[in-house]
Amino acid sequence: MILVWFIAILLAAGILCWVVARWSAAACRWIALAATVADFALSLVFWIRCYPVNLLQQRDWLRQVNWTWFPEAGIHFHLAIDGLSLLLVVLTFFLGIVSVLASWNEIRVGVGFFHLNLLWVLAGITGVFLAVDLFLFYFAWELMLIPMYFLIAIWGHERRVYAAVKFFLFTQLSGLLMLVSILALYFIHHSATGVYTFEYSELIGTSMPLHVAIWVMLGFFIAFAVKLPMVPVHTWLPDAHTEAPTAGSVILAGLLLKTGAYGLLRFVLPLFPAAAHWFSPIATILAAIGIIYGAVLAFGQTDLKRLVAYTSVSHLGFVLLGIFVWNKLALEGALITIVAHGISTGALFVLVGALQDRIHTREMDRMGGLWQTIPRFSGAAMFFAMASIGLPGLGDFVGEFLILLGTYKVSVGLTVAASIGVLASTLYGLKFIQRAFHGSNVHHWELHDLFAREVVIIAPMIAILLWLGLFPQPVLNTFAPTMNKLQQTAAQQYQAVDRGQQ
């Protein structure tokens, strides 16, 4: 039941916010905050109680809810949680709190409707992480699109309409391709077994010829690759991230992109091991291209938010690489990167948003020397920029290092390419700090340093990155059962390929 509560609290609080905002915007913000905090606390308690005893039992799910929805078509309202989804759900609620706090002063028009959308997009994302019925998954997948569209289109910056529509069309097209694949899988499974079902655990192991599996897998892959985003289907991302309000950018970078990575881990690899194996050379090469391309383009930006947006392309390239390299180290690295990137990039967007609130521009040319007027703010920005470029001791480093190690076992060439990406990342990281914060204060800015509210947001994020960087074991332990299963699938796959070659 706790899984239903996760979602229900957000949905109900969203409506409540909308109603209450007629009388008091402040009350609406507090309700939104209370809802996200409540969910976060619930999920944290759940995690602590499961850890580590329950996690080590090799059951399929830690908890599940399974209600009939339309039984004739084999559709169930089936939510379930395992280590992987638990981690992502905790991240969702944490970034939920961050985004509510980040928009505390930024959003002044339509406060009620804003929080309705904010909480509902979180609910949709939670649904995506928990759904194990493919119909329900697609339902949630499409559902998170609409509130996000509104967040960008109504409260975004200058080119918000363009960005929102582009975001919507990219995800809609790729989502529909996934729908076609889901249905193809559904009918293939039916013709093999005579059972109509959308149940994840039953669809696993549906046997089909490789060439069919490749087509079906591609439908899923494209949907997830667009969300991830993988080069060359990333072009919606810089626009959407740049134009969205701060909370929207945090959710986009921290969570929405992660639904793509989650989808690859949860669906593409287990459902189509053979096809994914066949596809892995292409995916890893595209990932390596993405890593370098994202880093180089980030370096070329003068808009601070756009710069951070392009770093996401680079980091998520690492995730894609780690997933398709598909061994223990790389998978663990991908997971750590997913979490750490959510925190570090989320924090960067919060800071850039806060800066824009103060000086009303995102152009780096209008900045410079900010360290002299807002030293604590600049220090925080420096910390997260360093995390983002992979400074040892912080979360992102662990993730990328593990991915590189894992990749080395498979292909030295790819490792070299990805390492070049790491190098390029220092360029944009340093540019970010130098152009905006170092130097002399040529524009004579006199700004307010971090507000208490901002400290409340930033401090835990610093702590989490340090924790992930120095002692990531609890996160890895939580992920272990899911990863073991993925690895078994991989092992079988390699054996099958070896047998085929003999």
Binding site: W69, F70, P71, E72, V109, G110, F113, F135, Y138, F139, A140, E142, L143, L145, I146, Y149, F150, A153, I154, V161, A164, V165, F168, L169, Q172, L173, L176, L177, L179, V180, L183, A184, Y186, F187
Partner: protein, 476 residues
């Protein structure tokens, strides 16, 4: 005719009796309110009689009409949609200086025509139903006659509908000449046996009949009338044309197609495939160029008929189910969307330019919410009926491996999403200029909209009950 036969066509008799009664009532006492009340009463009685009719179904009532569960489902859809249109039309007519009561008479006869189509099993009832429907629509289109656009719509519809009816008749004549019967049930086997020169008559005959049908369904390339008529006609009438008129025709198309086993005729399937592709792409691409909400809805309805055709052509086990569900979802959605247009319209002009919708959310959030729900349903986003409908259509296509059609459906529905988003964005844009004139709230129309929205969400979240009804009614 047996007693059971009479019970079976009781819904039709009531539907035919109500306008006659109404006509007599008007001669005694003219009152808009009571005209609406009688209309709704008649429709309710007709709807209630579906239950007793379903007890005796299936019944062949004279060679002309067959009342089976399938026809009854469509009767139900037609009656409910007509009631919703009547409810919306009330507030709209109140604002216009025209005779109001006759509107309902025409509406009821049009609904009767559509219902006859749904139950038709013979060329004669096919043509009868079509003409009852069309002739009522000529007048309904031009109902707000002081307006030039209304007259234009009426005349355009008159000329083109008459032309398409001529095609249809010629097609029927050719088929009759070839096989010597006008009953659908005997036609299939006779068509199989037909040989020699008579056989060459079949294909032109079928093609002409398809032309007539495609005109009513507004499929590309027989869609030219649609945007002008939708724009000129009163919005409730446009909703009626988009739903009841097309629904009745689709019911007939399905029956005709399956009774005649036309899947065996490769050329016919090819014709429908081309029409489906052209409608999906054409409707959506042309809608991109529009900035008039009524015209956008017109082109979107062309595209949606294309989607329905995909399920129809796929023709697997799921086809009839998918088509019927999609049509129900589409009925609710389109009537809802035109309902918002109706409620926002005032005596000088209808709310058709995008400007009339700009920033509506900040002025009338509920109304904008309804419109958003309807547009999202047209896009096929979850929690709305349109999502389940689209899901079903793609499922029907996937079940019979019609991949090319599905991919075109996917691509064109993304194109569609683009212009729906444009309207949605207008609804939520902040307005700095003077807000457009807001017409007075219409209690009755608004309550219809509330019901439609609830229905939309209910079908989108829990479609199982409706699916049970549809499954129970599958022909054969």
């Amino acid at each position: 005719m047996s007693g059971a036969g009479l019970v079976a066509i009781l819904p039709l008799l009531l539907l035919a009796g109500t306008p006659v009664a109404l006509m007599l009532i008007i001669t005694v006492h003219r009152s808009h309110r009571s005209a609406l009340a009688w209309t709704l009463l008649g429709l309710a009685a007709s709807f209630a009689s579906l239950r007793s009719a379903s007890g005796v179904a299936p019944q062949q009532v004279t060679p002309l009409l067959v009342v089976d569960q399938y026809a009854l489902v469509y009767f139900g859809m037609i009656i409910a949609a007509t009631a919703a249109v009547a409810g919306l039309a009330y507030g709209y007519l109140e604002q216009h200086a025209v005779e109001k009561e006759e509107f309902y008479i025409l509406l009821l006869t049009a609904a009767l025509g559509a219902a006859v189509l749904a139950a038709s099993s013979h060329f004669v009832s096919f043509f009868l139903g079509l003409e009852i429907l069309s002739i009522s629509l000529y007048a309904l289109n031009a109902y707000i006659y002081p307006r030039k656009t209304a007259l234009e719509a009426g005349i355009k519809y008159l000329v083109l509908a008459a032309a398409s009816a001529a095609f249809l008749l010629f097609g029927m004549a050719l088929i009759y000449a070839a096989v010597g019967t006008m009953e659908f049930s005997r036609m299939a086997s006779l068509m199989m046996e037909t040989a020699g020169p008579n056989r060459t008559l079949l294909l032109p005959g079928l093609a002409m009949i398809i032309t007539g049908m495609a005109f009513k369904l507004a499929l590309v390339p027989f869609h030219m009338w649609t945007p002008d008529v939708y724009q000129g006609a009163p919005p409730p009438v446009a909703a009626f044309i988009a739903t009841v008129s097309k629904g009745g025709m689709f019911a007939l198309l399905l029956r005709y197609f399956y009774r005649l086993e036309l899947h065996n005729y490769a050329p016919v399937v090819v014709i429908f495939t081309i029409i489906a592709i052209a409608s999906m792409l054409g409707g959506n691409l042309l809608a991109l160029l529009q900035s008039n909400v009524k015209r956008i809805l017109a082109y979107s309805s062309i595209a949606h008929m294309g989607y329905v055709l995909v399920a129809f052509i796929a023709s697997g086990v799921l086809a009839v189910e998918a088509v019927t569900f999609y049509l129900v979802a589409y009925f609710v959605t389109i009537i809802g969307a035109f309902g918002v247009v109706t409620v926002l319209s005032h005596s000088e002009e209808d709310a058709e330019s995008l400007e009339a919708y700009r920033g509506l959310f900040w002025r009338r959030p509920a109304l904008a919410g309804v419109m958003t729900a309807m547009l999202l349903s047209l896009t096929g986003i979850p929690v709305t009926a349109g999502f389940i409908g689209k899901f079903y259509v793609v499922a029907a296509g996937a079940a019979s491996s019609a991949w090319a059609l599905i991919i075109i459906l996917v691509v064109s529905s993304v194109i569609g999403a683009f212009y729906y988003l444009r309207v949605i964005f207008a609804l939520y844009a902040d307005t700095t200029q003077e807000p457009a004139e807001v017409p007075p709230r219409v209690a009755f129309g608004s309550s219809v909209l509330v019901v439609l929205t609830l229905l939309l969400i209910w079908l989108g979240v829990y479609p199982a009950p409706l699916l049970h009804v549809i499954r129970a009614a599958l022909p054969g």
